[in-house]
């Protein structure tokens, strides 16, 4: 569950966006897309681990890939790490996307926003290999931070939207879905909360799975840092780290 994994590759993909490939025996325990690893970036500072989603799992090579945005203290330090160095990884943690929810021949719509896009890659890969027809809608702020469009195209139609219109459709992922009248049997999404809310509201009758983000302490379910409310209850709760991060739409209050 915890290992010093070795950095195999570490490359910038877009502005402030990095692709980090790690090798280690933990990879053999990674199955479900949408689960995350809790990464200790430095020995002392920053103190806490950082939750990052698994983007690609390659068991034959014994490697996994993470894509992250270097922004705050921890991820900025992470971006300075070089191949050959090791990092302390705890995981895989949480419950990921239910791949089996979409059956062979059915259509899955994968919707990602910004740094929520990475976990959809492993999901697209697994769905496609199960014979599910996958379509991606990826939203970014601007052209400079778009990544992985080509890689997603391997598995299905891929539409990109940017908020400022500098690339693809101008606007939000929901604009793409509406304009193209994209239809699906199962929807999987990861991204900022307003995006998840919009999707939940737009498709109340559909099978929708949403991956949430919350600030974490332990990442394993012990500290109650990452809880969210369950509908129609004052005291019932789910923990994003151990019950999620993926929930069925309606299961928790966004």
């Amino acid at each position: 569950m915890k290992e010093q994994m070795t950095i195999v590759r570490h490359e910038p993909l877009a502005k402030q966006i990095y692709e980090l490939t790690l090798s280690g025996s933990l990879v053999q325990t990674m199955n479900e897309p949408g689960r995350f690893v809790h990464v200790k970036v430095a020995e002392y500072a920053p103190l806490l681990r950082r939750p990052l989603s698994l983007c690609d799992i390659n068991k034959e090579a014994g490697e996994c890939t993470i894509i992250y945005r270097a922004e705050g203290a921890g991820t900025t330090l992470l971006a300075k790490k070089c191949p050959g160095e090791t990092i302390d990884v705890l995981g895989p943690l949480g419950n990921g996307f239910p791949v089996e929810a979409a059956k062979a021949g059915q259509r899955a719509l994968l919707v990602g926003g910004g740094i929520g896009v990475p976990p959809l890659y492993e999901l697209a890969k697994q769905l496609a290999s199960n014979g599910v027809s996958v379509t991606m809608v990826l939203g970014f702020q601007t052209k400079e931070v778009v990544f992985y469009e080509q890689k997603f195209l391997t598995y299905g139609e891929t539409y990109v939207a940017t908020v400022d219109g500098s690339y693809g459709t101008k606007g939000f992922v929901t604009d793409v879905i509406n304009e193209r009248a994209l239809s699906f049997d199962v929807l999987y999404a990861c991204g900022p909360k307003p995006m998840l809310k919009a999707l939940e509201q737009q498709f109340p009758q559909k099978e929708v799975y949403l991956s949430l983000e919350e600030r974490m302490g332990c990442g394993v379910g012990a500290c109650f840092a990452c809880v969210c409310h369950v509908p129609n209850s004052e005291t019932a709760y789910k923990k994003v780290c151990s019950d999620g991060p993926v929930f069925k739409a309606g299961e928790v209050v966004l």
Binding site: K2, Y44, R215, G217, G221, C223, F224, H229, E234
Partner: protein
Amino acid sequence: MNRLAVQLPGLSLKNPIMPASGCFGFGREYARFYDLSMLGAIMIKATTLEPRFGNPTPRVAETPSGMLNAIGLQNPGLEKVLEEELPWLAQYDVPIIANIAGSTMEEYVEVAKRMSQAPNVHALELNISCPNVKKGGIAFGTVPEVAAELTKLVKEVSEVPVYVKLSPNVTNIVEMAKAIEAAGADGLTMINTLLGMRIDVKTAKPILANRTGGLSGPAIKPIAIRMIYEVSQAVSIPIIGMGGIQSAEDVIEFFYAGASAVAVGTANFIDPFVCPNIIAELPALLEELGFDHISECTGRSWKKGEPTVHCGT
């Protein structure tokens, strides 16, 4: 020879290392990592009479060498802890110290009474020091007369020894400790978190939804050491020390200050194996420092007439 076994009121500990309350849930999560029977004891999450949801999120914020939390005593309530969590923990050979909280004296007394009857609860830890709840919590922990009154009431109903958890958010911790000792407490646990706050540079708003939270982690260790040093010289009941412990060396430092056992909180989040690792490292460290038993370390920083440590011989 077991260099680590420690006897405290109500507690016969294989070793003096235990996870701190609120940092280990009710043990289930960490049972995936190691056998909980390795631990000296477990301090379970604060329990109140009724289930509580706690504060809105974000509930944690990182700080230099520490973190702020404002969980707000979220817990499943006494009934569920008695019916599900404690029986589940009973499969392990480890004494439980039940952390109890409330908004009123009556609530504390009710929870204390019923909790102390559970077979694997060997001691109570009265949480009079939580900074994250509006009513109760810290109020009970900052006024010596109120803390003493509460201690007395809980002692009357409890079937197991009562440890009182001190808040560092006071001007005179010694006065507080003495009042609680005089009220009949069997031991003290210290320290709880220090009230703190962080503000987001981009939004100019507090990071925590609760605005303020309790500071824990290595940042508070020197404060814990100083307070234990002062309190242990003023009272004769044992102290379970906590605040920023991450290593076997930290444990020894707490003992030198005056602790008789220690609890590890925040460090569990950083390394889930921290408690068993410390337990494994302690015997060699004691050997190196020339101690036959860990209890020889208690109060070493202030005890008179003790030869200085024969390190490196």
